[in-house]
Structures are given as C-alpha cells and as structure tokens.
C-alpha cells in the first residue's frame, strides 16, 4: 500500500509538469494541477510517516529502465527525509499558487510551474536512492532543475555570474561525491547501498578516511559550509521566493542526508577526528554565518547566511555524535544525532516560512531591503504573526521548535564532559559555549529582522502603501508557523521516531535517562505562560493612542528610527575582525579634508573568501591552462606525433598491464 502511494507520488511529480507545459495556459488547469500536486505531496508525506514505523525498507527496482543499477528504497532514514520533503513542500506549493500567478505570466509561468515538481522529484530520488547511480542521477538533476528555476528570470547583469558560480560549485561538489562513491568500486559491484555498507566495513582505514573527506567536501559544498558557502548567498536571493524556500529549506537538507548516510550508514563508525572535523566545520560556519547574517540588510541574503549558520549547527551536532560514539558514549551519541536530525527538520520548517515570508513582503512592497521596510504589521497581520513565530523559532526561543533542537545539542555536548578522554571532555562542553554564542547572535539578528520589517514606522512609500497579502500566501505561512508551535510545545511527536532512526544508525537503542525530559517540561511551561498572558489580556483596559515621545520636538519621522544597519552596528564593531570590510572613503576635492565638496563612502563585506581562497585557485587553473596551450601548436605533424605516441602507449598498456 505504502509503496503504491510512493510510486504514485513519483509518477505525479513527473507527469504534472507535462500538464503544466501542455495545458498550462488556462488558469483552471493550472489550479487543478497545483491542487493535484499538493494532494500527492500530502499523500507522500502521510506514506513516508507510515514508512517510518515499518520494520523493513520498501524497495522499487528500476534497473530494467536504466543503463546501470537503479533502485529506490525507503528505509527509516530515507523515510524521515522523504517526509520532510513532502511535508514542507505542501505549504511552499500553496504559496507558489499565489506567488507565481501574481508575478509571472505566459510561458515563463508555465515553465516555472513545470520545473517545481521536477525539482521536488529529483530531491525525492536523492533521499530514496539505494544505488550510487540513482543517487548521483538525482543529485545532478537537483542541481540542474534548481539552476533552471533561477534561469527562468534571465541572466542579465550579476545574475548570470551568480548562476555560473552556483553551477560550478555544485559540480565541483558533485564530483567529490561521485569520487567518494567510486572509491568503493571494485569492492562493491553494482554500487548498491547495502553492498557499499558491507564493503565499507572491510576497507583499510586510509581508504575510509579518503571517502569520508571527499563526502565531507562534496556534501559540505551543497550544504554551504564555510568556506564552501560562496554560492549560497548568491544563488538564494536571485531565485523566486518559493524556490529559495525549497532550496534553503529542503535542498540543503539533502546534503545533511548524504552526510548522515555516508558518515553513519555506509562507513563503519570512524575515528574521533572525523567528528572533530565535522564539529569544527560546523562551529566555524555557525559563528561566521550568524555574524554575516547580522551584517546584511537584504532580507533574502540575510536568510541565506542564516542557512549557513543553521547548517553549521547541524554539522556541529552530527560531529558531536561522532565524537561521542568514538569515545564509547553511544547513548549520548544517539541524542546528538537526534539533535542534528531534529534541527534539520526544524530548519526546513522555519527557514521555508521565512523565505516565503520574504516573498510575501516582496509581493506587498516590491522590495526586500530592510532599510526600506517597516510598519508592515498592520498591512499583513496573519503573515506578520507567522513571521514572528518563525523568527522566534530560528532564534531558538523556548515554546517553539528551534529551541528543542538546541536544547538537545546542549545536553549532548555538556554530557561529553563525562568522557574519559580529557581532550573530548574539554572540546565538547566548550562547543556548547560556541553554540550559546551562535544562539545569541541569531536571536539578535532575527529580533532585528522582525522589528525592522514589521514594526515601527514605514521607512519608504512602498512600505507605507503595502498591498494586502493574498490568502493562499498567508495560509501557507500560517501552516508552517503552526508546525513551529506544535513541535515546540509537544516535541515528543517527532523525538520518538527520530530517536529510533538515530538509534538504528548508531547501533544503540538506549537513550540516557532524562535526555528527552524537555518534552515533558515544555507543555506545562507553555500552559503557564499562555494562561498568564490570556488572563492579563482579558483583564486589561484599552490603551489611549498618543504620539511617540519626540523630546518636545514637533514630530518624529521615519528617518529618526533606528535602521537595521544601525541596530547591528555595536555587534559588528565588536566582531570587526570577522567581517574584514573593505572601506573606501573618497573626499573631493582631494587634499581638502576639512571643507569637502563631496564624500563617497563604500564598504564591501565578506569578499575575503574570494580574494584569499578562490582567486588564487582560479589563477592557478588559468595559468596551468595557459601552459597546456603550448601543446596546441596548430602544426599537423605534431598532432600526428601525439596520435602515434598515444597509440604506442595504449599498446604498451594493453600488453603489459
């Protein structure tokens, strides 16, 4: 039954695009196809949830239609991520139904509509693939479809360059992933996951290390781990908002899936330095991602950097799980892995909500520049409340889902202090300090985001005369916000299946006493806080509306308000070393610094990675290419010599190898 539903979902994800392309001209057909898409995704979510409780994997072998072994299977880990993809894309598609209709027309809209289900389908293939070929097939399609979704809006100006960087880095990452699979070759014919797993256990340690490092680089590129994050703040802002939500909310999670699949399933438990590598990469990405997010005032770029931060947290927790498992604390390793998986889940929910919210803001005001927004609460109440919930959740505030993941991370990191190895007992609790710093930065960042966007006075005419938000957009935001609240108050719903999956991967069914105690505390705290707020709200009298205190001046205007840049200035000043801003001040006329006619000030941030890391690499490749060009003399005799030499070499190889 479940396998039928899953097959139906896959078929509909492939068939619906054809409907959009062929008959997408009429709005009724589009609405019907969109409804069908949402229904099949919802059915997929239900089936995936059921598959979580099944004893064995559901398999679908399609090798007959493919040149290489191609099979899909839904085991518990796959079911979890399949559930994530299907469940989170339902509100995203609901949002698209209003967003795409309002912002695009004609063929462009049809193509966008057609690409969305294909993009989702490719991600479904990635998380359910049970052979290396199927995985890489889905992985490549995922990159191409997402790039195509960005391409629909054209490649003029900076967009083309950003898209090029996106494709380039994705392919570099895919090459690393493919290489890590091919290192198994010869030991596991067919490259099926079960065979790979058996081969992994029998491998020499050096080869395992190489596979792990390649997987870390490959999946780290997709996930946007610093310094491999370069594409992320470029690609996300230029995609249509629902696509950004899919890319950030779901596509990044496929990298988490891949990493967990390699690190905890295909490869046997590794040495602790694997864990430290993950933990270090996660801590670095988390801290710098949070700082860069704080310094942004383009809402979508800010959210992209915040994805870097959250992926960092997930890697940190996964690394902690590896370190704990390598040091014998398997029960706490399960908790850490649950924290990583839960945070992946939570991030999918609230980051989708935030990107969709950014889309709603763009829909209402035609800008996502925080310096131009403000006071939007009264124009879009429901969407604003949903955004408040999402901002609180991503800030890790209690009674919302983000807190539960961070709480579990804290618990497992602090529990690391009991390990017998002193280095682990110091590093893990110290990482809890990093986690707290990241949490603090994220809280400041998202308090700022909400305050500057929705509260206070409008900072531009566009914000002052914002359009109301279509009902479908508000509804999809409300769905996601509702999920944040439910999973924040009753996290037990998700903790139990996650604990089963994590326990299966680590090989320990037991969870330490009190490891999930938060699930039993939170409902009471929520009840107490809710009752207190409700009681006071009922008892209070109405307020009298007056004007804001302006120090006795006639009136305040929007230019006297704090801006997003002003808000983050103190923190940016304290962490100035992390930003390394390039500032140029030009005073004209030169030499007259006291009586200037004009001053121009420019400050560019976070380009240091390009300068310090990528530029030298690109230069080296170009220089090597120049040197290789000498082979191309244009002389036909020389080319004949090459062919002759190649032939001789080949004959030698065939004879002696």
């Amino acid at each position: 039954m479940i396998s039928t539903v899953l097959a139906f979902v896959l078929v509909s994800l492939v068939a619906i695009p054809a409907v959009f392309l062929a008959f997408g001209k009429s709005p009724t057909t589009r609405r019907a196809a969109c409804g069908l898409l949402i229904a099949s995704l919802a059915a997929g979510a239900v089936a995936a949830w059921r598959a979580l409780s099944l004893g064995e994997a559901i398999c679908l072998d399609l090798s007959a239609f493919a040149p290489l072994p191609f099979a899909l299977a839904v085991d518990h880990l796959s079911a979890l991520f399949l559930f994530l993809i299907c469940a989170v894309s339902v509100p995203a598609m609901l949002f698209s139904s209003a967003y795409l209709e309002g912002h695009y027309e004609g063929l462009r809209r049809q193509v966008l509509w057609a690409l969305m289900p294909l993009f989702l389908g490719s991600m479904v293939v990635v998380v359910t693939a049970s052979t290396a070929f199927a995985f890489l097939f889905g992985w490549e399609l995922m990159t191409l479809f997402s790039a195509a979704l960005i391409l629909v809006e054209g490649t003029d100006g900076e967009r083309g360059h950003s898209l090029f960087i996106y494709l380039l880095m994705m392919h570099a990452g895919a090459a690393a992933v493919a290489a890590s699979f091919f290192l198994f070759a010869g030991r596991a014919p067919g490259l099926e996951f079960a065979g790979l797993r058996a081969a992994g256990a029998a491998m020499p340690a050096g080869l395992r290390n190489a596979i792990f490092l390649l997987a870390l680089v490959g999946f780290g590129t997709k996930a946007g781990i610093i310094p491999l994050h370069l594409w992320l703040p470029r690609a996300h802002p230029i995609a249509p908002s629902p696509v950004s939500a899919l890319m950030s909310g779901i596509m990044l999670k496929t990298a988490v899936y891949g990493l967990v699949r390699f690190g905890f399933y295909l490869l046997p438990p590794g040495p602790s330095w694997w864990g430290y590598a993950l933990l270090g990469a996660g801590a670095l990405s988390g801290t710098l991602g949070a700082l860069y997010a704080l310094g942004e005032h383009d809402l979508k770029r800010l959210l992209a950097y915040s994805s870097v931060e959250n992926i960092g947290l997930i890697f940190l927790a996964a690394g902690a799980a590896m370190v704990l498992a390598a040091n014998g604390a398997v029960d706490w390793a399960v908790v850490a892995l649950v924290a990583a998986l839960l945070h992946a889940f939570n991030h999918a929910i609230f980051k989708s909500a935030l990107f969709l919210g950014a889309g709603a803001v763009a829909d209402a005001t035609h800008t996502v520049d925080l310096e131009q927004l403000g006071g939007l609460f009264r124009h879009m109440r429901l969407a604003a409340i949903a955004m408040l919930v999402a901002c609180g959740a991503i800030a890790g505030l209690p009674l919302l889902n983000g807190f539960v993941g961070e709480w579990l991370m804290f618990r497992s990191l602090v529990a690391g202090a009991a390990l017998s190895k002193a280095s682990a007992a110091i590093v893990l609790p110290a990482a809890a300090g990093v986690l707290a710093l990241i949490g603090g930065l994220a809280a400041s960042c998202f308090a700022n985001v909400f305050a500057v966007t929705f509260l206070g006075r409008p900072r531009s005419a566009a914000a002052e005369h914002a359009k109301p938000v279509p009902a479908a957009m508000s509804a999809s935001l409300a769905l996601l916000a509702g999920a944040c609240v439910i999973l924040g108050v009753a996290p037990g719903l998700l903790l139990r299946p996650l604990a089963e999956v994590a326990g299966e991967l680590i090989g320990s069914a037991a969870v330490p006493d009190g490891a999930f105690s938060i699930a039993s505390i939170l409902p009471y705290v929520a009840l107490a806080v809710a009752v207190a707020i409700a009681a006071i709200a009922v008892l209070r009298r109405r307020a009298r509306v007056t004007s804001t205190w302006g120090c006795g001046l006639p009136g305040l205007d929007e230019r006297m308000q704090y801006t997003s840049t002003a808000f983050s200035k103190p923190l940016r000043k304290v962490f100035a070393n992390a930003y390394r801003a390039e500032r140029t001040v030009e005073v004209a006329p030169a030499g007259e610094s006291y009586f200037p006619q004009a001053i121009s000030y420019r400050s560019v941030r976070t380009t240091s990675y390009e300068r310090a890391l990528y530029r030298p690499a690109v230069d080296a490749i170009v220089a090597a290419a120049h040197r290789l060009r000498r082979l191309q003399t244009g002389n036909i005799q020389v080319y004949l010599l090459y062919i002759f030499l190649a032939l001789v070499a080949l004959l030698m190889f065939v004879r002696f190898a």
């Binding site: 408040l388 609790p429 710093l437 308090a447 509260l455 939170l522 004007s547 804001t548």
Partner: protein
C-alpha cells in the same frame, strides 16, 4: 506539602522582588549620605502605575502592548525553576537550567520588539545595545552553569543544589571559584546593574534597559518594572542556590523551613549590600568596554569548564 512549598517559594520570589529593589535603593541612598525612599517604595510605584492609563504610540502594532505581558509571564515562569527554601522547585528536570536561560531570552526578544515598535530612535538604540550585551552574556551564563552541572554530575538545578548541600564549603573546587566569578559578572550584565547598565539613569547616552522602555507607561510599564525586579530576584536566588545553598531545609519541619527562610533572607541581604556598595563606588563602563567585561566572564567560564576535565 511539597507542591505547596514549591508554589510558596515561587510566589515569594515574585512577590518580594520589588522589596529587594527597594532595599538596594535604600542602601545606596544611605551610602551616598541621603535619606532615601522607603523600602516599600517600589510597591507604591507599581500600584500607582497599575492604576494609570495605558498609552500607546500611534505607529505601534498590537505587539507593543503584548510585549510587557510576555516579558512578565516569562519572568514568572522562570521563578518556578529556582529552589529557595529546600532543594527543589515547582518546575524542573534535567537540563532545566538551559530552559531557564532561554526563558529570559524569550522575554528579551519581546522587549526588543516592543522597543522597536515605538518608532523612535530611543527604542532602537536601547534594543541594539541590549542585543550587544545579551548576545555576549549568553555563552558565559550557559557555560558557567554547565560547569557546575558537570561537577555535580546532574543536569538539573535541583540536582546541583542537592549535590552542593552534601559538600563542605571549604572543599569546593577551583571550578566553583571560576564559575562563580563568571556568573557574578554575567548576573550584573543580565540584570542591568552598574557597571554595565544604570537602572536609575535617564540620560540617553548611557542607558540600555531604560531606553528600551521609554515609550511605555501605566500598567505596561508596571509589568516591565516588576518583571525586571523578578529577574533580579530569580538570578540572585539562582546564584545562592547553586553556590551557597547551605541553610536550606533538608528535613520537613516548620523549624527547618523558618531557618531556611531566615538564611535565604540573610543571603539576599548580603547580595543587596554588595550591589549597593559596588554601585556606589564604581562608575558605569563605557558601552564598548562592556564586551571586554563580558569577555572576561567568558574566559572565566571556559576555564571553569576546562578545569572540570583537568581536576577529576
């Protein structure tokens, strides 16, 4: 009996919080050679504010009036987690100290939103400064408490207190000294006392908390003031509970409970005297010195955690 006691001690923290503020203000006045107001003055202030009319800026959203209530509700909920008279509290469980810290973060989040909703420069300025202080204070606060949890081999406040009660004060380790220094510095920052923030100033160049609440009046202001008083009493009680719990009732008798109450009152009074003396003798730090101040706290907290591994 146990339940009633835990409710009583939570209510104690909530109801007597303004009194602690009054005592500190009175002591400061005495040190500065002034007569000072009655120690009950904060209660009459609250009563007066609750009777007044609530004012709301024209630009504000409904969140403006919701924020003080959320802040108050979070502070009240936080009070339920701290043991006062015996080694137990109304709410708790393993890892509850993390929740306690984050409840204050939730309150602060709403306070920042409320401040920004007024639409003036003051609110944003206070919010921005509060964000600076709180962001840097979170890590040492959690690490300091984590160090204690590691030493006590228990992740709950209740467990830490019970373990500390079985120890001899003079046998406590370097971890406790380091963690106490870190948490004392953080407590100053979190409760907005001198030298990080000045709770009595209304000079815009220096204020943090007061700038955030400038737009509030009447009952809304009363909720905020009461909530910040509760925060001071909760954090004081938490420090007392994890570092100096001796005197808490270990047996269920009326005498032990009265003794515990007296001991608690004495310890809180000692904290009040310390705060009054420090605030009368130390100047407020420049804003950009505060990160250094919290940097010291972070370093101490990290050392506390490192020492837990080195000293076992």
């Amino acid at each position: 009996m146990r339940l009633a006691l835990t409710i009583v001690q939570a209510l104690l923290l909530i109801a007597l919080a303004p009194l602690l503020r009054g005592i500190i203000a009175r002591l400061k006045a005495r040190i500065q050679n002034r007569r000072g107001a009655s120690i009950l003055r904060p209660y009459s202030d609250l009563l007066k504010l609750f009777r007044k009319e609530d004012l709301q800026p024209a630009t504000a959203s409904p969140l403006f009036r919701l924020a003080p209530v959320v802040v108050f509700a979070c502070s009240v909920a936080a009070a339920a987690f701290v043991p006062v008279l015996y080694a137990g509290a109304l709410a708790g469980g393993s890892g509850d100290f993390i929740l306690l810290v984050y409840l204050f973060a939730l309150a602060r989040f709403f306070l920042i939103l409320g401040a920004a909703d007024g639409g003036s420069a003051f609110g944003g300025m206070g919010a921005s400064r509060e964000a600076l202080v709180s962001t840097l204070a979170e890590a040492p606060l959690l690490l300091g408490l984590a160090a204690l949890a590691i030493v006590a081999r228990s992740a709950s406040v209740e467990g830490i207190v019970q373990w500390t009660l079985t120890q001899d004060f003079f046998q406590l380790s370097a971890v406790h000294a380091l963690a106490f220094s870190a948490l004392a510095l953080v407590a100053i920052a979190e409760t907005g006392r001198i030298p990080v923030d000045n709770p009595t100033t209304h000079l815009e160049l220096t204020m943090i908390h007061e700038a955030m609440v400038l737009e509030y009046s009447g009952p809304s202001l009363a909720f905020i003031e009461w909530a910040s008083a509760i925060k001071l009493s909760v954090i004081s009680a938490l420090l007392i509970a994890v570092f100096l719990p001796w005197g808490m009732a270990t047996a269920w008798s009326a005498g032990a409970l009265v003794l515990a109450l007296l001991a608690f009152a004495g310890k809180v009074l000692a904290i009040a005297v310390t705060i009054a003396v420090v605030e009368s003798s130390v100047a407020k730090l420049r804003m950009y010195m505060v990160p250094d101040f919290l940097g010291v706290a972070s370093a101490l907290a990290i050392l506390a955690v490192v020492f837990t591994a080195l000293m076992r």
